[in-house]
Symmetry: C2
Amino acid sequence: MFKDITIIGDGAMASVCAMILRQKGLAVKMWGYDPKQLGEIEAKGENIKFLPGYKMPEGVVYQPDDAKAMLSADLILSAVPCQFVRCVWSRLNKYSPDNIPIVSVTKGIDNEKLLTPTEIIREVLNGSREYAALSGPTIADELARRLPASITCASCDIELAQNIQYTFATEWFRVYTNDDIVGVELCGALKNVIAIAAGIIDGTGLGDNAKAALLSRGLAEIKRLGVKMGARDETFSGLSGLGDLVTTCISPKGRNRSFGEAIAKGADPQETLANSNSVIEGAATCKSVISLAKIHNVEMPITQAVHSIIYQNKSVSQAIQDLMTRKLKHE
Amino acid sequence: MFKDITIIGDGAMASVCAMILRQKGLAVKMWGYDPKQLGEIEAKGENIKFLPGYKMPEGVVYQPDDAKAMLSADLILSAVPCQFVRCVWSRLNKYSPDNIPIVSVTKGIDNEKLLTPTEIIREVLNGSREYAALSGPTIADELARRLPASITCASCDIELAQNIQYTFATEWFRVYTNDDIVGVELCGALKNVIAIAAGIIDGTGLGDNAKAALLSRGLAEIKRLGVKMGARDETFSGLSGLGDLVTTCISPKGRNRSFGEAIAKGADPQETLANSNSVIEGAATCKSVISLAKIHNVEMPITQAVHSIIYQNKSVSQAIQDLMTRKLKHE
C-alpha cells in the first residue's frame, strides 16, 4: 500500500481522489498547472471551479512548485484532461522521479498520435517506471458524497495494481484489479463517443429500447476496435467498459450525453463545442476513433454516425435512418 | 419468410407482435386462454387490459378455438407468461401441428424443473419441430408507437432464425440472428433478478455509479451461470443480454425494477408480490436461479442478495453493506 501520493491536476477527479486518500489517512500533495487556481482551492477549502459544494479534506498539501511537487511521493496520480497530458508531463519531465509508478485517471485518445493517456506519458518522460490506469463508473460528485462505487485498476504489473487497489479501497469504494491496461484505457475513451449517441437518442425521444440497443451495439463496435488494438474482450464487459458506458449514457449530468441531447434538439454542433465551458471529450475522441477504425479496418457505424453529425453536417434523422436500414445481420 | 402466423397468447407482447406482422401484410391469428378476454380485444379493437391506448391492427383473426387456432399456420408464436407455458401447451398439445416451428417470446425459468420456455414446450409437446426464441430490449408500448428497436432471434436452426428475421424486420425494427438459443433464453430470464436489484439502488438513492457497477457485476454473474449451462459468453454482451438488461434496469415502467424500488422504500416484499396485478417475473425466477447456482456451483452475490431480501427477511442496508465489503478481487 502506498503512503505518500502526489496528485498532478486540480480538476474534479483529482479532488475526489484527494478526499478518498485523505479518508484513509495517507499523505496527499496536489499540484496544479495554474498556481492561482490551486491557491484558490487551498484558500477556500473547496474546488469551486470543478467540484463546487464539497469541502476539500483537511491535510492536503497544495504544491504549485514543479520541483517540489513529487519529491517525497511513492505514487503519482495523473489527473489531467487528455489534451493537456502531453504538455503537462513535458513540463514536469525533469522533476519526475524514476521508478515511482504513475497511475492515470485520464480518459481519452489524443488526436495527434492516437495514443492513450499512459502511452502519452510513457512517450514524454525520461527514465523508467510502471504505469497503471484507474477507470470505471465514477461520477465525481457521487464519489464526493461517498455513495457506493467501484473502479478498475489496470496495470501490466499486477503487484502495482494490487498496491493501488489497497491504497484506494474503502468501505464504500471497491477497487478491482485487471492486467489489461490497453483495454481499460480504450474503454474509458471510446465510451464517450457512444454517450454522445445516447444523448442524441434522448434528445429525439426515441425511447429506452433504442437507447439499450445503442449501448449494446455501441459496446460491440468499441470492443471490435479494442480487440484489434490488443485489448482483451472481457475488459469491455467489465466496470471500465460496460459499467462506465452505462453511467455515462444514463447520468443526466454527463457532458458528452448532454452535448448529444443538445444537438438532437437542434443546436449547432460546432457552435455548441466552441461555447462549452468544459471539454466535450467524446467529440475530440471521435476524430481519433475514426482514424483508428480506418487503420485497423473495423466497421464502427455508430461512431461514424456521430462523426458525420458533428463534423460533416449530416442531419440526426438521416443518420438514424441510415443506422436502422443497414443490411440485416447475424449478431 | 413466413406468411401465416398464429400467436398463442393475448398479452402486451402478443399484441405488438400482431401489429408488426400485420404492418408487413402477413396473415395473423391470435389465440387466448380465456375466450372472454380475447373477445373483448376483438370487440374493442384494443387490448385494454394489457396494452391500453393502442389500436389493434385491422385483419387479425381472433380464434379462441384450440382445434382451429393453428390449422393454417406456417409459424407459431408462443407469447405466454413463463408460469403458464406448461399448462397452455399441455392443453394445446393435440392440436399442435408437427413440423411447424415455434418461436417463443416468453422470459423466465420455471421453478419446478428449472427449464427455459422453449425447453418446457419441447418437453410438453409430442411430435418434432424446430424452436426459436425472440428476445431483446423491447418494451411493448414503445414498439406499439413504432419507436426504433432491435431484437435477437436465436435458434439452433440458423435458417429458421433467418426466416423469422425477415418475417419480423421492418424499417424501425431490426432483427439480428444468433444460434445460441440457451444463452438468449437465459439472458431474458436472469436479467429480471438484476433489475430488482437496480430498483433497490434507485429506491435507496445510491446513484448512477452504483447502478452502473451493479449492471456490470450483475451481467458478469449471470454470464458465469449461463456459460456453465452451455450458453455462449458473447450472447450476454448482445441485445438479449446487455441490451435487455439495460432497458429493464433504466425504464421507469419496468415491473421488476419498480418492485425493487418499492421494497427499498420500505414495502414488504411478500405483501407487494401478493398484491401485484401482474407477475413480477424476477421474483419467481430468483428462486430458480438460486437452485441453478447451487447445482452449477457458481457464485452469484447479487442474485443471492435479492433472494435474501425477498425471501429471508434480510434488510436492504445489510445486503448492500455485505456486497460492498466482500474480499477485494481481480475483475
